[in-house]
Each structure stands twice: as structure tokens, then as C-alpha cells.
């Protein structure tokens, strides 16, 4: 085996995009996990399926419609949830199934374009174009800057909503901002692991990192490192062995979670 694969430009694009998505998902996902909103990413991803189908049907670039549909439906479901007092998990179920339903009906109308849809269901990181890569890098940069600027407000309203309100933080606006950023992140990440495995990028590295018993910034850094490692190793291994990248990435991050659990139960990590 040689390092030849590192000279292909599609591999460069895949690795650069993959690293950006890994960092983005782990940061946005940390807030979702801590808000007990772990499956929200999944729900948005499923609604993006409807958006992708819509784009394919209309002959528009499918990711564009996916961004629109995902962000709008995520914001609407959040509004409905607050207004009618629906629990978080139930609202996720509503969002998740309606996205798929819309997608299926549209596919039915069009007579089926199953090959394109397949790449969105399971990701196609080796196929990202130069334009895709630029878009992924820009969105990642913007979201990370927003999070850094509003770091205290986002963390505080995640930690305790009521106290954050009393400290004068516009908690509701922050909540919508997080939903908005999660919408963008999910559709961006669909290219890497597809609609069906998105939760893995949002949740697994964070659940693993939280076990290390550290403070917030260290937890975020540990999570990012695990996420980047899984994605880079996943892309390379899957290429070498000609297996699916999405599945390999997710299995690697599950491996890290399992390893961490092992270390923890062996008493090598602080208990809490």
C-alpha cells in the first residue's frame, strides 16, 4: 500500500471537506446533545431528504433546496413545539417522518431518480466538487465564528435556561439560532455520511468526549479530535478496502466510544 491515494485531488477535496464537517458537526452537536436534542440532527436530515427530492424534481441543485427546506422546517417545528407545548422527542418524530413522507411522494410523482437519491442517503464524500468544498469551508467558518462570538450566551442558555434569562440573555433567540445553525450543519454533512447516519457525527464523538470528565472547552476539543480522526481514517480506510466511507466513519467513532467506555470502567478516568 502506498501513499499514492494522498496525491489524488478528489481525495484532497474529500479530506478537507471531511475535516471541516467533522469539526462543525462535533461543535454544533455538543450543544444539541447537552440540550437533550440528540436526535434533532436526524430529524433535520430526514427533512432534507424531502428538500433533495424537491430539488431533483424541479431541476434545481438539490443541496440548495435541501438547505431551504431543512432550515425552514426546523424553525417551524421549534415554533410549533414552543407554542403547543409538544415535547422535544415528539416534535423530532413529527419532523423526521414528514420529511421522508414529502420526499417519497415527490419521488413517486417524478417516476423515481433512485441513483441520485441513493448518494444522498449514504453520502458521497469522494464525489465532492471544488464548489462543494468551498461552500463547506465557508459555512463551517461562518458557523464557528458565530459560536465563538456568542460562546458564553449559547453555553449559558444550554446549561440553565431560566438562569440565563435572569442574566439578561435572549434565550429564545439563541435557541432559534442553534436550530438554524443545526439545519445548515446537517445539510452540509449529508454529503459526508448521508441522511441516515448524520446523528453519528453529531452525537457519538460528544458522548465519548463528555466521559473524559473535563471542562467545556476541553470536552469540545476532545470531541473534535475524535471526530476528525474518525472521518480522516474512515475516508482513507474505506478507499483502500473499497468499502462505504459513511459506515466506516461511524464504526470508527463507535470504536472510540467503546474504547473510552472500557477505559472508564477500568477506573482510569475520573468518575462522575
Amino acid at each position: 500500500m502506498s501513499f499514492e491515494i494522498l496525491t489524488y485531488s478528489f481525495m484532497h477535496r474529500a479530506l478537507i471537506s471531511g475535516i471541516a464537517i467533522a469539526i462543525l458537526c462535533s461543535v454544533v452537536g455538543l450543544f444539541l446533545v447537552l440540550r437533550r436534542y440528540s436526535l434533532f440532527g436526524d430529524a433535520i436530515a430526514h427533512s432534507s431528504f424531502g428538500g433533495i427530492a424537491l430539488g431533483l424534481l424541479a431541476g434545481v441543485y438539490p443541496l440548495l433546496t435541501a438547505y431551504g427546506v431543512s432550515i425552514i422546517s426546523a424553525l417551524i417545528i421549534t415554533k410549533i413545539k414552543d407554542k403547543y407545548n409538544i415535547s422535544g422527542d415528539a416534535s423530532i418524530a413529527v419532523l423526521l417522518s414528514s420529511g421522508i413522507a414529502v420526499g417519497l411522494v415527490i419521488i413517486g410523482f417524478s417516476g423515481g431518480f433512485t441513483i441520485d437519491i441513493f448518494s444522498f442517503l449514504f453520502g458521497s464524500i469522494l464525489l465532492v466538487s471544488v464548489d462543494d468544498t468551498i461552500l463547506i469551508l465557508s459555512l463551517t467558518g461562518i458557523i464557528l465564528i458565530v459560536i465563538l462570538l456568542l460562546y458564553r450566551q449559547i453555553l449559558y442558555s444550554t446549561f440553565n435556561e431560566e438562569q440565563a434569562k435572569v442574566s439578561g440573555i435572549p434565550v429564545e433567540k439563541i435557541n432559534y439560532l442553534i436550530v438554524f445553525m443545526a439545519g445548515i450543519t446537517v445539510v452540509t454533512a449529508v454529503q459526508l455520511v448521508g441522511v441516515l447516519l448524520i446523528s453519528a457525527l453529531f452525537v457519538i464523538p460528544n458522548v465519548t468526549a463528555i466521559m473524559y470528565g473535563k471542562g467545556f472547552k476541553q470536552t469540545a476539543i476532545i470531541s473534535m479530535s475524535f471526530s476528525v480522526f474518525s472521518v480522516v481514517a474512515g475516508i482513507l480506510i474505506s478507499y483502500i478496502f473499497d468499502i462505504t466511507p459513511a459506515g466506516t466513519i461511524v464504526l470508527l467513532s463507535i470504536g472510540l466510544l467503546g474504547g473510552t467506555m472500557g477505559i472508564k470502567s477500568a477506573g482510569l478516568l475520573s468518575k462522575n
Binding site: L34, R36, R152, L155, Y156, F159, N160, E162, Q163, A164, K165, V166, S167, G168, A209, I210, G213, K214, G215, F216, K217, T219, S270, N272
Partner: protein
């Protein structure tokens, strides 16, 4: 000088009147103990004062201004809730939690100062969920104090905390009030503690039963008896 004014505060919940025409004034430097049985409306009163409940009748003023007009007054307030709710394994250290209270990111040395003052400096890199109830409570006071508030509001802050921690907690409150001149508004079940610490008392049982200097209240056996009976009845009523 009055720093908080509550005028004719009334709150209706669907089936009960939680507060009925409550009016009182808190002056700068006061240490006010608010006592009253469960369901007396203490938390409702605080929720209104902190803009967590805006469905009230009457007027609440902080620093001379109606709080309906602007939430700027919150900058002058530190709030310690009854039992801070958070996930046990939430990945934040003591330092992270106290930092949340900062309004101005540049004041980081202030954190060390407060942590030392509250005897939790050596815990600063520990996760909040690993600490005892008393230690956690001090962390939340540190968070409430780190932006130099003029008023500290505490909602039954010692519920479920061991006696030793309570003593330390009380001595800290006394010092904040006497040395740093922070106005304290504190709700409690513990009549003895209120007697020892507060210089003003407000007895609340949906209506304001008494408000004035604590000496006046505690030296009047009749008042104390009346209050105790009222809260006892309430207690029986609830069980």
C-alpha cells in the same frame, strides 16, 4: 434610598390568586428575609421581580425604574435559584459556571477573587456535578456575584444542604451585606436564621402579612405566633 419598590402586585393563576395586592419597599443595604409557608407566593414574587413571569398586575420598580420598560436592571442583580437544575454530567467546571455570570469577558481575574472569597478556589477545575450540594450552592453564589451586582436575590438557597455548609453560607451572606454593602433579598423557611441574619422581614402568605424591621417582628410574640399558626394551617392544608 429605596432600591426596589413593589406596588400592588397581584398574580392570578387559573384557579388561585398567588399574590394579592402586595406592596413593599427595599432600601439600599437592606438584608430582607422573606418568610412564608409553601405556596405562599415567594417564588411567584421572585419570578415577577426577575421578569420570568410578566403576567402580573401592579408595578415593580428596580433602581427607580419600572421593570416592564427595560431589562437593563438585570445587570444590577445576582440571582441564586432554589435548586439549580442541570445535567449531572454536564461538561463544565466550577470555573466555567462562574464565567457564565460574567457580563464582560475581560474580567477574568474577578473569577479567581470570587472563588477565593467563597472558599471554592481549589475546586475550580472540578466538574460542577462532582461537588456536594453545599459546594454547588457556593458556586452559584459566585456566579451571581461575579458581575458585581448591587442586589443579591436568593430563593430558599439552603434547601437540602448540610448544616456545616449552611453556617458557612450564612456567614458569607452576612459579610456580603455588611462589608460589600450588597442589598440582599432572601426567601427562607428558617425563622431562626432570618432572625439572626436579616434586618428586615416580610411575611408573605399570598398577601403581605407583615413588613418591617426584623427586631420589631421577632420581639412581638403575638406576631410570631400568628405567623407560625398561619403557616402551620397552611402546612396542614397541604398535607
Amino acid at each position: 434610598m429605596s432600591i426596589v419598590e413593589i406596588n400592588n402586585l397581584t398574580v392570578h393563576y387559573p384557579d388561585v390568586k398567588a399574590l394579592d395586592d402586595v406592596s413593599f419597599v427595599v432600601n439600599e443595604g437592606d438584608f430582607l428575609g422573606i418568610i412564608g409557608p409553601n405556596g405562599a407566593g415567594k417564588s411567584t414574587l421572585f419570578d415577577c421581580m426577575l421578569r420570568l413571569n410578566t403576567k402580573y398586575k401592579g408595578i415593580i420598580k428596580f433602581f427607580g425604574k419600572d421593570i416592564r420598560d427595560s431589562k437593563n436592571y438585570l445587570k444590577g442583580i445576582g440571582y441564586v435559584p432554589q435548586k439549580p437544575i442541570f445535567e449531572k454530567n454536564f461538561p463544565v467546571t466550577v470555573n466555567d459556571v462562574v464565567q457564565m455570570g460574567l457580563r464582560n469577558e475581560s474580567d477574568k481575574e474577578k473569577i479567581d477573587e470570587i472563588l477565593q472569597q467563597l472558599w471554592i478556589h481549589e475546586l475550580r477545575n472540578r466538574r460542577i456535578g462532582e461537588l456536594s450540594g453545599g459546594q454547588q450552592q457556593r458556586v452559584f453564589i459566585a456566579k451571581a456575584l461575579v458581575h458585581d451586582p448591587k442586589i443579591l436575590i436568593l430563593d430558599e438557597p439552603v434547601a437540602g444542604i448540610d448544616q456545616q455548609s449552611i453556617e458557612l453560607f450564612y456567614s458569607i451572606l452576612r459579610e456580603l451585606n455588611s462589608k460589600q454593602k450588597i442589598t440582599i433579598i432572601w426567601s427562607s423557611h428558617d425563622l431562626d436564621a432570618v432572625n439572626k441574619l436579616a434586618n428586615h422581614v416580610a411575611c408573605l402568605n399570598r398577601t403581605l402579612f407583615f413588613h418591617g424591621e426584623s427586631e420589631k417582628f421577632f420581639s412581638d410574640d403575638k406576631l410570631v405566633k400568628q405567623y407560625s399558626e398561619a403557616s402551620m394551617q397552611e402546612h396542614m392544608h397541604h398535607h
